[in-house]
């Protein structure tokens, strides 16, 4: 769960928090594309350090570290899968080569870069801002609303799940008892009230929204309108440069692997 903790927005303000979410999202997408373009270790190591200044400027180091720690489990799995399967497929029964190790590490680092950049985005963008950004990118309002509502209800549901767990434990349910199948079955008394509650809540929400004339006017206006500031233009410019640079390097510059670099 801790990986998701790292995606939860906390209401603080900083230069990074105040950036336009559309530009921030574009920047994250550039990082994403760049990470996908390169499969060698050196550029990915470089890429890993790119979002770090943003983390520090936004002052979300602790949350960021938590999300990285959460991602570590999946990172280990990705590494093992890459290493073990590629080894048995290509090199068995020889001794695994250094390049195989490097390739597996690169794949793992690619995953970490993706988690890192998206975590920075979600940690510094409020759900309201995100909804606003979607709306002003001409996504239909119904979708924007559904999206922001879903995001907003995540902590509510988490709290409810805890209460339900307490209520069932108070009736003698032991979640950690029995073999694997039994343990999975132990969660039925938690899941059913949670799902029923969520459905009931969504119906109530729909009624409450409609009684407040939701969707009555075709053309909706917003109290807050997103407007690009100088810092936003700067980040957009940097992102475009990064993208051009990355594509150029990918097309024309042969990238040495770390093993060859070390050998030089």
């Amino acid at each position: 769960m801790s990986m998701f903790e790292g995606f939860r927005f906390r209401r603080v303000s900083s230069v990074i928090h105040r950036l336009d979410p559309r530009v921030k999202f574009f920047f994250v997408c550039v990082l994403f594309v760049t990470a996908i373009l390169f499969g060698k270790l050196p550029p990915l190591i470089l890429l890993f350090f790119v979002p770090l200044p943003f983390v520090f400027m936004a002052g979300v180091q602790r949350e960021w570290i938590r999300s990285m720690r959460g991602a570590l489990f999946f990172a280990v799995i990705i590494f093992l899968f890459n290493f073990v399967f590629t080894y048995f497929y290509t090199q068995y029964p020889q001794v695994p080569s250094a390049s195989l190790l490097e390739r597996s590490l690169a794949m793992t680092l690619r995953f970490l870069v993706l988690v890192e950049s998206f975590s920075v985005f979600f940690l510094t963008t409020s759900p309201d801002h995100l909804g606003l950004a979607l709306e002003q990118s001409h996504v239909p309002y119904e979708f924007c609303f559904a999206f922001t509502t879903a995001v907003r209800f995540v902590p509510v549901l988490a709290e409810e799940a805890q209460t339900i767990m307490d209520a069932q434990k108070a009736r003698g349910l032991e979640l950690e008892r029995g073999n694997f199948l039994k343990r999975v079955r132990n969660y039925i008394p938690i899941l059913i009230p949670l799902i029923v509650g969520a459905i009931r809540r969504s119906l109530e929400l729909a009624e409450a929204m409609e009684s407040r004339a939701w969707g009555a006017s075709e053309k909706r206006t917003n109290l807050y309108v997103l407007k690009l500031k100088n810092t936003d233009y700067l980040l957009a410019f940097v992102s475009v440069l990064m993208l051009i640079f990355a594509v150029y390097v990918w097309l024309y510059v042969p990238i040495p692997s770390l093993t060859t670099l070390l050998r030089l």
């Binding site: 209460t163 209520a167 108070a170 009736r171 003698g172 349910l173 032991e174 039925i188």
Partner: protein, 277 residues
Amino acid sequence: MIEVKDLYFVYPTGVEALKGITLTIDDGEFLAIMGQNGAGKTTLVKHFNGLLKSTKGEVVVDGVSTREVSVAQLARKVGFVFQNPDHQLFCETVEEEVAFALRNFGFEENAIKKRVDWALNLLDVTQYRQTSPFMLSGGERKRVALASVLAWDPQVVILDEPTIGQDHQQKEKLRQFIVQLNAQKKTVIIVTHDVEFVAECNPRVVLMTEGKIVAEGLAEEILTNQKLVAQASIVPPQITQIFLGLPDLGLPTNVIDVHEARRILLDILEGAPHEHV
């Protein structure tokens, strides 16, 4: 017997919910824990069946520290009925719902059947035996939740906000029911801010504000103390408010019972000197 010794509790979010609670609850006692929202009432009672473990200090139930036993073991002795029945109902029929805890505690099938019959009858929900709990009304769901806890006959029964969403008739039934439980030497603990309900039941009251106990005593002492109730953001029962608002008549200020108030007023109307008991 439940002993709470200098209990502190801090939630993982850093909120200090309990700050040095010391309290003894005797066997067979009827206790109401009152106070405003966020005073720490529910946090306190969640320590009684081990759902929460203290940050500092300890809670001892029947001579055993709640740290040393599992929730399931404690739940056998301490039944906890949650505020919202929707947080626990999940079975296909009411009958199954009531049997759920009994199965968890490892009762024999024969005993389960008997106890389910008994609990359904006790809470007047036998006619819904084969109905889905989700099809019942709010009050009925609450009764099913209560039946599902009482079925294993715990020594201590904790009711979290039992009167919320209940009509007057149901509240009266609940009151009679609690009195009945108490008469069977069960310890009954209610968490509530329903002042009128407490005034009618007249239990021992523990008043909490901001994670601390500010007063304990009989309901008629606590609920009629204007300073105390204001501190805990509650108001005295309506009948007390009337008596407090008529200082010229020389009425007693510690009346919470409607029948007693009626007698005093009748005495005054008839010109007879009254004696407050």
